[in-house]
Symmetry: C2
Subunit: 456 residues, 2 copies
């Protein structure tokens, strides 16, 4: 009913989570921005400067890589939770354009004292590791994310709280970690330069009381009746545990990561929304069952092979180029089998379908409805996702074909205003995923969102 | 009421979680064993062979380090979830005594194909890293846990599913990882020996279909109406994010880790029980505010200083010696301030107080009810836990003193049967934590559990 869907839309949640449900770049930023109006806090719970939310405000584009995009809304406090890895210079790089645009950010950004710091040498090592992989590159963003989490696990990582200790103490742990990297990876680290740079930034952070116990802050805020919006970075299939390892990021990007990464217990999370493109994209290497293989899209088939035009077409109309990396994204049909797995892991309260408008001109639209094993011919059960790369390459997709709607949906603001073929497409997706659709993206603009089953 | 507490006791849960609420060794194994009777699955969701559950069955002692202790109950299927790091030989080391005792384990152990393998060289490196820390040892168990999680994050880790691939493929990824460790840590790894050993064990695992997609298995079981018990290893204060870093283990030991480490969404976890000793212990180094400092207990004060006898006494009557490590545990009073933090992070449905009998002979019993900052004199708010080691050492504990009960509670089976001073002690704890107590340990025996507010 209406009440139920209003709840599932995130608009009434105490703690709502926006999660990427595929391989990233689903357009989480837009939903987060729309929801943020009624949330007091905006929180990142994992990852580093490898996210790529783009917001367009008054015609001005803001790209968020590390910071929560709630910062553009002045009523919010924004948090980098304990699960994040924080490159201190990136904080200031991203605050600056906001300040320039007249947005007051002072005192509105809080960094968890339990978050790990990501240093320049983590990036340096990331590049080396990727080089060392030769033909088996993971396609990392070389932002140092993996090495920073690796330091965390080795327990010689440096947490942000150390910046509040006497500078000599910080220097000591920084130097120990830098030297460990020099030894392990046979590199030279310019420690003096990085320490110098950090010393100045540290002062600014201390002046603004930026580093704090955000676990306590968020739990206290919750108790005080504040609303909290957690914005996921990356996506389900890039999760360190549940993704297509090793082609993943090094953090928990699924709903469990919200709890580990901000210290709020699971029972407090009352709404999680999976953000899903109306088709599928993937950046970098790794298996991609519903890919419309295309040389332009980065696939193996020669130009002109079946499906290639559509892959290239989606890439063009969808503007599928990474914000953080500048890389072109591979494109393919909506993969319901993948999404059934994503739903199993996250149990989304509802789904936000984005970029439905990008399919406006297609004659026919396919949905991957199931996986079959090439080697055994068996259909894999719903929710099952092969855990190995070879298992994923062994997968053959079973498709259904639906007719296109061949008209612009840019002006629709409710499900009912969509052409019937678009409605049928969404209904079929709901049926396959057994999760209701709440929000529908019908264009890049902030107001280009249609609702289904509730009033915004 | 009765119905509510029955729910909070775990006895009616679809998915229950048993979590260590302090620094480990709380006696999680006993509660898990008691609950397991009505659960179809027993699951470990994180860590490796660094847990230390001891079960005494028919006078025979079984020590579990890696495997779920549900294995002793033949109606159960037991799972090492994707969040675990698995040393393959440890599996067989722990299965053997069970088989010898006549327990049929065949087909009853499932290892997630997404769990990471922990190799001998991870242990080798763990030892080296600890040595390299000089006077700043973390007190790790040298089981290779940290290095294995570090490999996972670096994304050259080898997941258990690789054992199902052609042996040459496994050899390739194993060798790449081993060589990376040789380079990074300047060690020599006996790759031939380990591969040889693993080859035989792999065959046994394949024969028993031991390696499987446990994410799907557990979600399917849940859908089919089965009950799942997740048994935590380690404890809240040893959590990689929320613990007293760097004196922590390298996995998520708090309730969020259940979701990331077994792939069940948070809404499915309907009961989490915090297991808490009636006093506090800690093994190895690191800050410990309520410690009864004693040279015998590993503290700094000379023998005979105030409190030392009680610390040593608790160590003796509580048998506070590590199962996995053989190390003596440091002992101290119940720390309600620590527990308020633990409750904030995990929001336990109820609490199992263990080893209450160990306080039977004391004249007076203290409870640490709050932390004060030594440097500012301020009382810290409930739930607040300093995130840095220096912050924790700056803490002064505010104590309350309660009278002891000076009589054996070994025969009590309900809260009402406890002496009134014991009841008062528990009531005060409930009041401080704002979480109801469900189970009360009154002796080491399997049946020595009293209940509060429900019927077992
Ligand atoms: N055409 C269209 N573009 C959209 C829609 N929703 C979001 N976008 C655009 O898609 C891009 C979002 O991608 P990105 O920010 O990389 O994704 P995120 O990291 O998940 O936030 C931005 O350029 C948005 O303006 C939509 O419904 N239709
Ligand atoms: N005296 C007493 N011993 C207990 C009680 N509950 C558990 N134990 C013992 O405490 C030990 C449990 O510690 P351990 O297995 O290391 O803890 P775990 O890792 O949390 O399961 C075992 O030897 C148990 O027999 C209790 O209520 N009273």
């Amino acid at each position: 009913g209406l009440a139920d869907m209003a709840q599932r839309s995130g608009l009434q949640a105490r703690v709502a989570v926006v999660l990427g449900a595929q391989w990233g770049d689903e357009g989480k930023g837009k939903l987060a921005d729309v929801l943020q109006e009624r949330f007091d806090f905006g929180v990142r719970f994992g990852g580093g400067a490898n996210a790529g939310h783009t917001l367009v405000i008054d015609g001005k584009k803001f790209a968020f890589h590390l910071l929560p995009c709630g910062l553009v809304q002045e009523h919010t406090i924004n948090v980098l939770g304990n699960g994040c890895v924080v490159h201190v210079p990136a904080i200031f790089d991203e605050l600056e354009p906001l300040t320039e645009a007249g947005i007051d950010t002072k005192g509105r950004l809080k960094v968890s004292d339990r978050a790990h710091l990501l240093f320049d040498f983590h990036k340096q090592v990331d590049g080396l590791l990727e080089q060392g992989r030769g033909g088996n590159k993971l396609g990392t963003t070389k932002q140092g994310i993996g090495p920073a989490y690796s330091s965390k696990m080795t327990r010689n990582g440096v947490r942000a709280g150390m910046l509040k200790e006497p500078w000599e103490e910080f220097e000591k742990v920084y130097t120990a970690l830098a030297e460990a990297h020099e030894r392990m990876y046979d590199v030279e680290v310019d420690k003096v330069a990085e320490l110098e740079k950090l010393k100045g930034m540290r002062q600014k952070m201390l002046d603004e009381d930026m580093i704090t116990d955000t676990t306590y802050l968020l739990n206290k805020a919750y108790m005080d009746g504040k609303n909290i919006l957690a914005e996921g970075a990356n996506a389900c299939m890039l999760d360190i545990d549940h993704g297509t390892y090793p082609f993943v990021t090094s953090s928990s990007t699924t709903v469990g990561g919200v709890c580990t990464g901000m210290g709020l217990s699971p029972d407090k999370v009352d709404c999680s929304i999976g953000v899903v493109k109306a088709y599928t994209t993937r950046v970098g290497t790794g298996p991609f069952p519903t890919e419309l293989t295309d040389d332009l899209a980065g696939g193996d088939l020669p130009r002109g092979a079946p499906g290639t035009e559509i892959g290239a077409y989606l890439q063009k109309v969808g503007g599928e180029i990474g914000v953080t990396t500048g890389r072109k994204r591979r494109c393919g049909w909506f993969d319901a089998a993948l999404m059934q797995y994503s739903v199993m892991i996250n149990n989304y309260s509802s789904i936000n379908i984005t970029k439905l408008d990008c399919l406006d001109e297609l004659d026919e639209i396919k949905i991957g409805v199931a996986y079959k094993s090439k080697s055994t011919g068996e259909r894999l059960p719903a929710g099952f996702m092969p855990s190995t790369i070879s298992g994923l390459y062994d997968v053959e997709v079973v498709y259904e074909t639906l007719p296109g709607w061949k008209t612009s949906i840019a002006e629709a603001r409710t499900f009912e205003e969509l052409p019937s073929n678009a409605q049928a497409y969404l209904n079929r997706i709901e049926e396959l995923l057994q999760v209701p659709i709440s929000w529908i993206g019908v264009g890049p603009g902030r107001n280009q969102m249609a609702t289904k089953g509730f009033k915004a």
